[in-house]
Every structure is written in structure tokens, then in C-alpha cells.
């Protein structure tokens, strides 16, 4: 890397190299039986250069040819992509505890045994089909630039997700168990899944209309997707956000606080710097219902004449090869502050309503506007404070800027889920479409 930095510096005013090594192992069970065990060992690097105010970018998986990589970056300068930015000199970064070395010696046999134990525990306690996915990954990232920055982060990640599936479908009740190292999944975690599935086993129907709706942590990403879009510095710059000029305005119910906290190392994936080497810090997007901040990478911060917030990450909506992605504003460690009611108390407070444990079509619809319209996969029906069954073929529709002003309750616990760590939230008057009108 140092040699590459030295060579590239001869062709550019500024140089940044991002290198990553990743290792992963996964074990999956379907229908309570072992299905697959697969592994991956990946590495690669990206080179970003700035010359005469223009940016060049190149990447590779195998550094077969240093000169070739530099040539690709220099060639891309010719396109004239604006590069009015300065790579940072970052040192003395906060320490985050993101890695547990015990994960290196964890064998796939151990993952197999844990999945097997969970299948045994669930089997016989439910009629639903049991699937379990488990995965361990380690990421090793290093960023160097010609300002003198040389920082690295190693992280370990263990996840296990049990699912209980409804017949004839992949609709399920599930929950992700995520840690920095291997830990046995506690029984009460599994009992939550069992209880939720078993009490909703019966298929029921619901008329189209407006009902109380509980988004579980597993489906909160549907709503957060819209907020991420609207508070992204890039979308502020291109004027594709309804939140432009609304900093300081009350946009949500005052009990709602949504923030990004990369330094929180209670959960896996904590980071003290972003993929451009900018130090990470907590950033409130919404505090007590008031819109507080947009999030920026180096490029869009410069464009908007503001400071980068440490949110330049090499991420894309649909995954993708990390080294091939340029940093873009991204909330990687999103949290919603918990409320004060247990999930049981919240469900008990619903006279008539639905719970959404899994949604389909989050990527559809008018995301910039904050609109969502998702299929329930399934929806759980609640009457007089009890889950009495599940509904199929139904959709819920709304707009997050209306929805977050109809908050009834927020769960007192947060759960690591896709797209962040969230509590369940109960909303009032959500539009549900079904075949029965």
C-alpha cells in the first residue's frame, strides 16, 4: 500500500487508498435440517486521487499491476469529475471495541451445533416450518492518504436468525441475534418467536380501512428508508428531498428521536472513522420530533459548504463489491430511542389493529416523498389486546411525515434489525387495503 501511495503521488495532488479484507462463514438450516455451509475470503483495494480539482477513481481485487491501477485512476480524471475536496489528516481517533479475537477460532462445527440446538428447541413447540441462518464475518479495513492519515479498524460480527414460517410461504416470524462474538441464543429470545407465531397461526380476514398498526423492529427499515433518503446530504444538494429548509422544524411526534451512533460498540459494526477517514460521532437526525441534521460525506459537505459528518461510506442500496463503490453519504448505525412500554403492554393496548413483522416492497413507491405501500408478509391481527390470527393479501399505505405524527407508543427495548437498531412503534389510523371492502 505504501508503495502504491508513493507511486500514485507522482501523478496526483492528493491520494487515498482504502484496503479491505473480509472473511465469512455461513451455516443455514431449512425445515430444521442442515442445508448449506459456505465460506468466502475476499480482499481488494480502491485508489482515489485528486488532481487540479478533479477526482480519479480505480479499484481492484488483486493488485497484479500497480501501474495499471494508477493508470485507470488517472484515465478517469479525464472525464472531469469534480473533486474540490481535501482528504483529511486523521489521527488519535476514538477507540471502539468492535472486534473479539475469539471469533477467529470459531469453527463452522460450532455454528452447526448452535443452529441444530435451536431447531431442536423449536421443533415440537410449533407447527410452523423452522429455518435458521447463521454467519460469522470479520472485516479488516485500512485507509491511508498522502496527508499522513493511516488508520485501521477490525471488526467481528456474529449473527443468527431463527425463522418460523407460515405454511405455503416464506412469510415468517423472525428476529436477528447479533453479537461481536459467539454467544448462545437465550431461550426467551426463541420463546418470543414461538409465542408470536403460535398465537397468530389462524388465518383471519380484515376489511380495508384505517387501523392501529404496530411496526416491529424488523419492518422499521421500511419507514427509515424514506427518512434516510430525505436527510441524505446528496439528496439535499440535488433538491430531491422534502426536508430542505426544514432543519429546526418539528416534523415528527415529540417522543421520536432518531440518531446515528457509530461509536456505540455494544452492537457489532461500531466505527471510529468513516470510509474516507473522517472521525465518526453521534449525529441526531430527529431529536424530540425536531429535524436536527442532515448527514454528509466529504464531497457533498463541500458542495453544501458545511462540515462532513463522518458518514462517507462505500455502501450501495443493493450491496455490491465494496472496493468498486465510491464513498457516499450513508447512515450505517441508525438507532431510534426506546420509549417506555414493553411490547406486551403495547399489544395489550390495541383494541383492534395489526402488527407488521415482515413487509414486501419497501423499495417500491415514491421514496423521496416519504410514501410507502408495502405488502404484509404476513400481518398479525390484534383484537382486544391479543394476537388472534394472521391476515394475508393485505397492504399498508402511508407517508412517514403523517405516520410519525400519529405515534401511540414506542417500545422500551431496541433490537438490532436490518437497517438499524430499533424499538417497535405503534401508530394510529394507518390505511390497510385488503380484498374485503
Amino acid at each position: 500500500m505504501e508503495k502504491l501511495l508513493e507511486l500514485a503521488s507522482m501523478s496526483a495532488d492528493q491520494v487515498e487508498i482504502y484496503a479491505i479484507k473480509q472473511k465469512s462463514d455461513s451455516v443455514t438450516f431449512e425445515n430444521a435440517k442442515l442445508k448449506d455451509i459456505d465460506s468466502s475470503i475476499q480482499s481488494g483495494l480502491s485508489l482515489r486521487i485528486i488532481k487540479d480539482g478533479k477526482t480519479g477513481f480505480a479499484y481492484t481485487k488483486n493488485l497484479h499491476d500497480r501501474e495499471g491501477l494508477i493508470r485507470n485512476a488517472v484515465d478517469s480524471l479525464k472525464g472531469g469529475v469534480e473533486g474540490q475536496l481535501d482528504f483529511p489528516y486523521t489521527k488519535d481517533i476514538a477507540e471502539v471495541d468492535s472486534y473479539d479475537s475469539a471469533i477467529e477460532s470459531l469453527m463452522n462445527e460450532k455454528l452447526y451445533e448452535e443452529c441444530s440446538r435451536i431447531c431442536e428447541y423449536l421443533t415440537g413447540k410449533t407447527k410452523g416450518q423452522i429455518n435458521v441462518n447463521s454467519e460469522i464475518t470479520t472485516d479488516d479495513i485500512r485507509i491511508i492518504n498522502n496527508q499522513g492519515t493511516d488508520i485501521a479498524n477490525k471488526s467481528s460480527h456474529y449473527s443468527l436468525t431463527p425463522f418460523v414460517l407460515y405454511p405455503g410461504s416464506y412469510a415468517s416470524i423472525y428476529r436477528m441475534f447479533r453479537r461481536k462474538k459467539f454467544e448462545a441464543v437465550p431461550n426467551d429470545f426463541l420463546d418470543y418467536i414461538l409465542h408470536t407465531y403460535n398465537s397468530s397461526e389462524k388465518e383471519v380476514s380484515l376489511k380495508s380501512g384505517k387501523v392501529k398498526t404496530l411496526f416491529l423492529p424488523e419492518t422499521m427499515y421500511v419507514l427509515m428508508w424514506r427518512l434516510r433518503f430525505a436527510s441524505n446530504g446528496k439528496n439535499i444538494y440535488v433538491k430531491e428531498s422534502p426536508l430542505i429548509d426544514k432543519i429546526g422544524d418539528t416534523i415528527f411526534d415529540e417522543r421520536v428521536t432518531i440518531f446515528d451512533d457509530p461509536l456505540n460498540d455494544n452492537f457489532p459494526g461500531a466505527r471510529s472513522f468513516d470510509d474516507e477517514g473522517i472521525p465518526c460521532r453521534r449525529l441526531d437526525v430527529v431529536r424530540n420530533g425536531v429535524l436536527r441534521n442532515f448527514y454528509y460525506d466529504l464531497f457533498y459537505a463541500k458542495k453544501m459548504n458545511t462540515q462532513p459528518t463522518g458518514h462517507g461510506f462505500k455502501s450501495a442500496m443493493w450491496g455490491g463489491e465494496t472496493v468498486s463503490l465510491k464513498p457516499t453519504p450513508s447512515l450505517q448505525h441508525l438507532f431510534i430511542e426506546p420509549g417506555n412500554k414493553s411490547i406486551g403492554e403495547i399489544i395489550n393496548s390495541i383494541d383492534k389493529g395489526i402488527i407488521i413483522p415482515e413487509a414486501m416492497g419497501a423499495h417500491s413507491g415514491n421514496i423521496p416523498n416519504g410514501d410507502f405501500s408495502v405488502g404484509l408478509s404476513p400481518g398479525l391481527y390484534v383484537e382486544n389486546g391479543e394476537i388472534t390470527g394472521h391476515i394475508k393479501d393485505a397492504m399498508v399505505t402511508g407517508n412517514i411525515y403523517d405516520l410519525f405524527n400519529t405515534v401511540l407508543e414506542i417500545e422500551d427495548t431496541v433490537h438490532p434489525s436490518s437497517g438499524g437498531t430499533f424499538p417497535a412503534i405503534l401508530f394510529d389510523n394507518v390505511s390497510v387495503g385488503t380484498k374485503t371492502s
Binding site: 468466502s40 475476499q42 405455503g168 410461504s169 380495508s208 468498486s324 416523498n369 408478509s377
Partner: protein, 457 residues
């Protein structure tokens, strides 16, 4: 390259093994509004090894040649761990060994077109919406993806194939006050760069739709009879039906296998569905899959009856059904999984006018905006639509997502148009597991479906 791969395979102690080495060359040009935000060409590479030993099948993807020993040791250990703990051993359906090189014939090889020309073409298309009032921004780019694949198996197959996919497209965003509307636009294919030329009309049409949508009304949530256009019907076929024709998705779900038994009458008798990766020039075209099996057309439904399924070698043996050549990986980071090639509803005999007369009152919905399925239920977004009264279009509607039950919907397809169109998308791909397949092609004629749940406002 084959000799090097054969040397690696020779070091693996297994009943069967294969190795795929790929070089992936990507060219990307991206505009956000008037600004060019990305341009460049890059090359990456990597290996995937699969091992079948004592009935245990496992895979490993790795980047560096120096990791080969470690990769072999890990994948063999994993295969043995599976073999020890799996009750039913994995078998592979038999297929002949193949020695072949397939380089597609292109109408203009994108590699022979200069970066300057690609940039100018993209800039030209991007400027079409930007010249119009009410267009807030665009995100339009050129993307060229070339997979050079080398596959060697312990059964003696040696296959080199190139998949070359140029695309141009993205999104156009219109804005009026606080209302934002975006539509997708673009074109792509496997037939060469020429397909991207002279498509200004598409960009003009989609720009106009984005602007019109600013004044369109949301639809009231509920159930409607709908006509869906070929793009949307193709997405329905792909999402709602196609995925459950992929044997690996239902393999370990006894309740879904029961419903998806060959011979089951699942659809209206007018419904015929096929997947055919051999159709030349289509986005879904390939000759060999990533198990080295020659792709073949598969009739999935005939007269509403389930007649076939998409298979890997493993699932073809497990289901005791014919092999189909549909096991495809995104790239060198992944082992192959079962994928559709070009899936489509075969044309029927109704003209568009017939369909509107039969619909009478309902909705006409056009173009897909993402779809997802969870087995018997599906949801997909539409880009725009119209309310239809007495067989006539009366007003535009926006933001309609539709949802339904696969089995009911297959029966509720009551009329099929005679105007089959296959997609040529300029962006996106089909996500399954962690992999995205950009060469997923689908199509259909216009179709009329009764009683579809639409989520509106």
C-alpha cells in the same frame, strides 16, 4: 488459464469439484443532474471452488491465488461437516462434459467504443429530461459489465464464456412544490452497444410521464380489476410465479413443494409460461450456466398446468426432474444459485381493444417499480397508471403498489393480449440471497387480471 485451474482442481480430494475463475470488467459513467459524478473502467477477478464429497456440497469464494491452499482446506472441511450431518446425501444430476468457448456475436462490441463516445451518449440522454421545466434532477448513467468466465470441472468440462452487458438508464425526478415524482428510464441488453443508440424517444416519453405524475392523483386503497402492461406483467411473472419455479427456493419447504407439484392446475387455462435463456439477443441470454450445463428452454406452465421447473444439478437430482441449466452466479464472489433467464407469458389472442372492453371499469397500470415475493404472496410497485371507465382511460393515477396471492392471481388472469414484449432494462437487477442478477429478463403481453389489491392513499 484452463491448465492453471486444472492444477488447482487436481489438488482437491473429492467425489466432484469445479472451479470458476472470472475477470469482471466494469465501465461506469454517472450523472447526477448536470454533474458528472463518476467515470472509469476497472477490472477485478476471483475464484469460486465447489466440492461434493460423501454427499456434502460446499463452496468457497476467494480472491488471491495465494489463498488457494487455505480455500481448498476450508471447502473440503465444510463438505465433510455437511456430509456427516446431512441425512439425505446431495447428488448431482448427470450431464455430459463440455469443452467449448462461447463468445457472443455483438452488434458493436462496447470494448471498441471510446470512453468519450460513451460519455457523450450518456450526456445526450441525460440532457433530455434536464431541459424540461419541473424536472428537479436525474440520476442517469452508462454501465458496461463484462464477465469473462473460465469453468473447469473434475468431470472434464472446460468452458470459456463471455457475458457482455451494456446499459444506459436511471431515474428522472420531477418536482412541484413539495411533491416529488420519479420514474425509471433506460435500455440495456446482451446484443451489443448498438441497442443503446437512437433511444431518445424513451427518455422523452419518461420525462413527460414524470411531469404528468406531479398532477396525478393517488388511488383509493382496495381491490380492482386491472390491465397491466407487458413490463409490469413480466415483473409479475418473474416475481410472483418465476421465483417459485426455482427449485432451490421450494426444495426444503414441504408445504410449497406440495402446492408446486408438476401437473398441478394452478392457472387459468389460457396461461402459458416459459423460461428460455437460449433466446438470442435477449438480456437473459447465455449458453452455459455456472455449473457448465447447457441452458435449455423450459416450459413452466401450459394451459394453466405446472409442467416444468428451473434446476441446478443438485435440485434436478433431488426432485428427479430434467436438468435445465439455470444455475447462475452474480460474479466471482458467489457460488451459483438457480436463476431465471428470460421468463415470459406466451402471447394470447386478445387485442388491446378487446382487453379494455372486457375490463370496462378498473385500472390500467404500467411499468414496474420493484417487486418482491414471499411465497404465495407478492407485492410490486407500478410507475404510473390510469383509471378506466367504460373501457376508456379517464385520468392518471400515481404511486400504486399491487399485492396479491400467487395462486388466486394465476386463476384471475382472464385475458391475455397478443402483443408480447420482452424487457430491456437499463438499470436494476433481481436480488436473491446476497446476489443480484442484472441479466434477468422477463416479458409478457398486456394481461387482464380480476380483483387485485392495490395500495393507494
Amino acid at each position: 488459464m484452463f491448465e492453471k485451474l486444472k492444477t488447482i482442481l487436481a489438488r482437491i480430494d473429492a467425489d466432484y469439484a469445479d472451479i470458476r475463475y472470472e475477470i469482471k470488467k466494469e465501465t461506469a459513467i454517472v450523472f447526477n443532474g448536470n454533474e458528472l459524478t463518476s467515470i472509469g473502467s476497472n477490472s477485478t477477478d476471483g475464484y469460486v471452488i465447489r466440492v461434493l464429497r460423501n454427499g456434502g456440497l460446499s463452496s468457497i469464494a476467494y480472491t488471491k491465488e495465494t489463498d488457494t491452499e487455505n480455500a481448498i482446506r476450508t471447502v473440503v472441511e465444510n463438505a465433510l461437516l455437511i456430509s456427516k450431518n446431512k441425512k439425505v446425501p446431495t447428488r448431482f444430476a448427470k450431464t455430459g462434459s463440455v469443452k467449448d468457448t462461447f463468445i457472443p456475436q455483438l452488434n458493436e462490441d462496447p470494448r471498441s467504443i471510446s470512453m468519450e463516445e460513451k460519455l457523450e451518449l450518456t450526456r445526450k440522454y441525460n440532457s433530455i429530461p434536464l431541459h424540461k421545466d419541473k424536472i428537479a434532477t436525474t440520476n442517469i448513467g452508462y454501465s458496461e459489465l463484462i464477465r469473462e468466465k473460465y469453468f473447469v470441472s473434475s468431470e472434464g468440462s472446460e468452458i470459456r464464456e463471455e457475458l457482455i452487458t451494456p446499459r444506459v438508464g436511471g431515474t428522472i425526478t420531477a418536482k412541484d412544490g413539495n411533491i416529488l415524482q420519479n420514474v425509471r428510464v433506460g435500455i440495456g441488453g446482451s446484443s451489443g452497444f448498438a441497442i443503446l443508440r437512437n433511444v431518445e424517444e424513451q427518455f422523452e416519453k419518461k420525462t413527460s410521464i414524470a411531469i404528468q405524475l406531479l398532477k396525478a392523483k393517488p388511488v383509493k386503497a382496495g381491490a380492482y380489476d386491472v390491465i397491466i402492461n407487458p413490463d409490469l406483467a413480466g415483473v409479475f411473472t418473474h416475481e410472483a410465479f418465476g421465483h417459485f419455479s426455482e427449485a432451490d427456493l421450494i426444495e426444503d419447504s414441504p408445504s410449497m413443494r406440495e402446492k408446486m407439484k408438476l401437473g398441478a392446475k394452478l392457472g387459468n387455462e389460457i396461461l402459458n409460461i416459459k423460461d428460455d435463456p437460449t433466446l438470442p439477443d435477449q438480456l437473459g441470454h447465455y449458453k452455459y450456466d455456472d455449473e457448465g450445463v447447457e441452458a435449455r428452454p423450459t416450459q413452466l406452465m401450459k394451459g394453466g398446468v405446472l409442467t416444468g421447473r428451473l434446476h441446478s444439478r443438485r435440485t434436478a437430482a433431488a426432485f428427479d426432474e430434467p436438468i435445465s441449466g439455470h444455475c447462475v452466479a452474480e460474479d466471482y464472489r458467489f457460488a451459483p444459485i438457480i436463476r431465471m433467464g428470460t421468463i415470459f407469458i406466451e402471447p394470447g389472442d386478445s387485442s388491446i381493444d378487446d382487453l379494455f372492453q372486457k375490463l370496462d371499469d378498473g385500472l390500467y397500470l404500467l411499468d414496474a417499480k420493484g417487486g418482491e415475493t414471499s411465497g404465495e404472496n407478492f407485492t410490486f410497485g407500478t410507475q404510473y397508471g390510469y383509471v378506466v371507465k367504460n373501457g376508456k382511460i379517464v385520468e392518471m393515477i400515481r404511486d400504486v403498489n399491487i399485492s396479491g396471492n400467487l395462486y388466486q392471481t394465476l386463476k384471475n388472469i382472464v385475458a391475455i393480449g397478443n402483443d408480447l414484449e420482452l424487457c430491456r432494462p437499463g438499470m436494476g437487477g433481481c436480488g436473491k440471497g446476497h446476489q443480484s442478477n442484472i441479466r434477468s429478463c422477463h416479458g409478457a403481453p398486456h394481461i387482464l387480471i380480476k380483483n387485485v389489491v392495490c395500495g393507494g392513499a
